[in-house]
């Protein structure tokens, strides 16, 4: 085969080079690890998001209300103490 013929085939030859894959065991191991990592990541995200939603919807108003009530009780108690 001449040099010229070699050159004509370079572009096609490179495009058609074989793709090889990792061994089956490696493929499955990587797949398993990645899926487990994806699952763990989304569990963490879920718990963080759930806590944030729960905090905003219930806990924050409850804590605010309780603290306000305690402040009011303390203020009333102090006022009565002053009057006495």
């Amino acid at each position: 085969m001449t040099t010229g013929q070699w050159r004509d085939e370079f572009g096609e030859g490179l495009k058609n080079l074989q793709t090889c894959d990792a061994g089956l065991e490696t493929v499955e191991r990587i797949r398993g690890r990645c899926l487990a990592a994806l699952e763990a990541q989304w569990q963490r995200h879920y718990w963080r998001t759930s806590f944030a939603v729960t905090w905003r919807r219930w806990l924050e108003p409850a804590v605010t209300f309780t603290l306000s009530a305690l402040y009011l009780v303390n203020a009333v108690h102090s006022s009565f103490a002053l009057l006495r």
């Binding site: 085969m1 040099t3 070699w6 050159r7 085939e9 370079f10 572009g11 030859g13 490179l14 495009k15 058609n16 080079l17 074989q18 793709t19 090889c20 894959d21 990792a22 061994g23 490696t26 493929v27 191991r29 990587i30 797949r31 690890r33 990645c34 899926l35 990592a37 994806l38 699952e39 990541q41 989304w42 995200h45």
Partner: protein, 191 residues
């Protein structure tokens, strides 16, 4: 992979769908592995880097942009991991032949790619590619073998598009020279 399908997969992966990851893994794994094997010239290293590449994809799935090009993203990570591995091992390319059972090495027989090459042209291309310097090899692998556009290749390599074009031209010339040398002296094995 069609762009529309790719965008949908990215959106589904961002929302944590494991089926989206499976589809991406199936589509890109052989390409990334072949790239890493030809880059590192070691199958065991390529497997480790492949694993790390996809673990990084999973770790950063939620932060991906909606218009992410998966090919460019994955090849960028794979390439950077390879660069880190080389730095960590502080291996000069010439020493690799002395220290590791890499190819092409005299008297070690054919490489896996050569052994399964479908034609003489393919075998000689694999040998010529393996003999090229790392910079030439990686730009040829990305553009000519993997089919990335010059702008995608530029983002993978961290270069300006013009620099990629120049590097590609030089790489093609050197590959042609290697092929010519192989044609002229077919008995001479690389190494």
């Amino acid at each position: 992979m069609e762009r529309e399908i790719e965008l949908r997969l990215v959106a589904r992966l961002k929302s944590g769908e494991s089926a989206a990851f499976e589809a991406i893994y199936k589509a890109f794994r052989p390409r990334i592995f072949s790239y890493l094997v030809r880059l590192s010239r070691r199958r065991d290293i390529a497997e480790d880097l492949l694993e790390e590449t996809f673990l990084r994809l999973v770790a950063r799935a939620r932060d991906l942009r909606c218009d992410t090009s998966l090919a460019a993203w994955l090849f960028t990570v794979a390439r950077n991991l390879h660069v880190s591995w080389r730095r960590h091992n502080a291996l000069h390319e010439d020493r690799i032949f002395d220290l590791t059972p890499s190819w092409p090495v005299p008297d070690r027989g054919e490489t896996p790619f050569e052994a399964t090459a479908r034609s003489e042209t393919e075998r000689r291309l694999e040998m010529a590619l393996a003999r090229l310097g790392l910079q030439d090899r990686e730009v040829l692998l990305l553009v000519a073998v993997e089919g990335l556009t010059p702008s995608e290749t530029a983002s993978v390599l961290g270069l300006a598009p013009e620099a990629v074009r120049k590097r590609l031209q030089r790489a093609r010339e050197r590959l042609a020279a290697e092929m010519d040398a192989e044609t002229a002296s077919p008995q001479v094995k690389a190494g």
